[in-house]
């Protein structure tokens, strides 16, 4: 981004591959996601990989929108400084923080309270897969709840690892990432994952059976790996 921009933006997250800033794009609140390459050599190859990921993110945001999946509006893409300027989903919290809070406040009844949310998430992922959109990093931090959490307005974000393909195997891996992320971040949520899968089957009617059998294969491999390691 231009130097005269930087001072108006507030750094909100410094990740390994991206920095996030909060600021304005003209009259609208915005998030700026700036990518940088991990390596110290700033070769032409690094720059082109960074550009590829930005493009992948912009494309996936667009494809999701076309399917009626809520994602931030993109305001400006700057491939020269590796930034995406997008809508700031104000008045929102991550699905992660919401689940943590509900589990803390409600103990045993938390799971039944969270079921409508799980159904909604499973439906969104199913719709994405039915349209060959793979997220690549399905964690509960990459889903926001806008407005009142009870309205279940889920906004999908962070498409930097996304890609398009129709292979059941890859979709199975996408679901496996979701399952691992859910179970490792939120204890005792196996039932929520099953709820997600029921909704997934509804939203991805044609492909679900094959994808879920691939998910089972990936799980087995995952288990073997942890047993050996």
């Amino acid at each position: 981004m231009a130097e005269n921009e930087k001072h108006k933006l507030k750094l909100i997250k410094q990740g390994a591959e991206a920095k996030l800033y909060r600021g304005d794009f003209y009259e609208r609140p915005c998030i700026v996601k700036e990518r940088f390459s991990k390596s110290y050599r700033h070769s032409a190859l690094d720059r082109s990989l960074t550009a590829q990921r930005i493009k992948a993110e912009v494309r996936a945001l667009f494809r999701c929108r076309l399917q009626g999946i809520i994602v931030p509006t993109v305001y400006f893409v700057d491939l020269d400084s590796s930034c995406i300027y997008m809508e700031d989903i104000t008045d929102s919290c991550t699905v992660r923080d919401y689940i943590v809070q509900i589990q803390k406040e409600n103990g045993d009844s938390a799971i039944s309270q969270l079921k409508p949310l799980a159904t909604k998430i499973g439906g969104i992922v199913g719709k994405m897969h039915a349209n060959s959109i793979l997220h690549g990093d399905l964690t509960t931090s990459n889903m926001l709840l806008r407005g009142s959490p009870l309205d279940l307005n889920i906004v999908m974000i962070d498409f930097g690892l996304s890609y398009f393909d129709s292979l059941a195997e890859d979709k199975g891996v996408d679901l496996y990432v979701l399952e691992r992320a859910l179970l490792s971040t939120h204890p005792n949520t196996e039932e929520l994952f099953s709820t997600m899968m029921e909704a997934y089957k509804q939203a991805n009617k044609k492909g679900a059976a094959e994808v879920i059998s691939k998910l089972e294969e990936v799980r087995m491999r995952g288990r073997k790996r942890t047993m050996v390691g």
């Binding site: 231009a2 005269n4 609208r28 494309r59 945001l61 929108r65 400006f76 700057d78």
Partner: protein
């Protein structure tokens, strides 16, 4: 009634917009823009939902200019090109550019610090100036949906303006 907006990225750059109706001499104004005697983008207001749509396109155009990567020859034609979902320049002109018989027009001028470009074109215009807030009333949402290929699934989850803006900002990255 004339709106000057500072460019977010370049302190020395700005965007000026003025809306007109009851225009009597579109053809003449258009000719002067084409031969370069006045500098401006002349747009059809029916395809402009909000000034933010123009801001997004103009910001893109100025970025392309400063990085020496314009698709068209001048900054004012670049704005028109950036606004359009089409990758074809003459098609973009046909759809978004003022027609010879049009009675309504949005003038967009960039980098006009001393108002000289604005004064030059205003000396020529025979028409009535309107506040920019009238853009909404002049816009035709169904024509906008058709041109930008926006369907109802999308409009269930976002306002029309956001659907339009995403297409403008993603144009170079996404093929529709």
């Amino acid at each position: 009634m004339t709106e000057h907006i500072a460019n977010q990225f370049y302190a020395d750059s700005s965007i000026t917009m003025v809306l007109y109706d009851e225009l009597e001499n579109s053809k003449e104004i258009r000719k002067c823009v084409m031969d370069g005697s006045v500098e401006a983008s002349l747009l059809k207001p029916i395809l402009i939902l909000d000034k933010f749509q123009v801001i997004v396109a103009a910001t893109r155009a100025i970025h392309n200019q400063r990085h020496k990567r314009m698709t068209t020859k001048t900054i004012h034609s670049e704005i028109l090109f950036c606004l359009s979902p089409s990758k074809n320049i003459s098609d973009s002109y046909r759809k978004f550019g003022l027609g010879d018989e049009d009675k309504c027009m949005l003038v967009v001028i960039v980098d006009d610090q001393d108002n000289s470009k604005l004064n030059a074109i205003q000396a020529l215009i025979k028409g009535r100036q309107l506040p920019l807030s009238d853009l909404q009333a002049k816009a035709d949402p169904s024509a906008i949906k058709t041109i930008y290929k926006i369907h109802d699934e999308e409009l269930e989850v976002c306002p029309l303006l956001d659907a339009v803006v995403t297409r403008i900002s993603s144009k170079e990255t996404v093929t529709l």
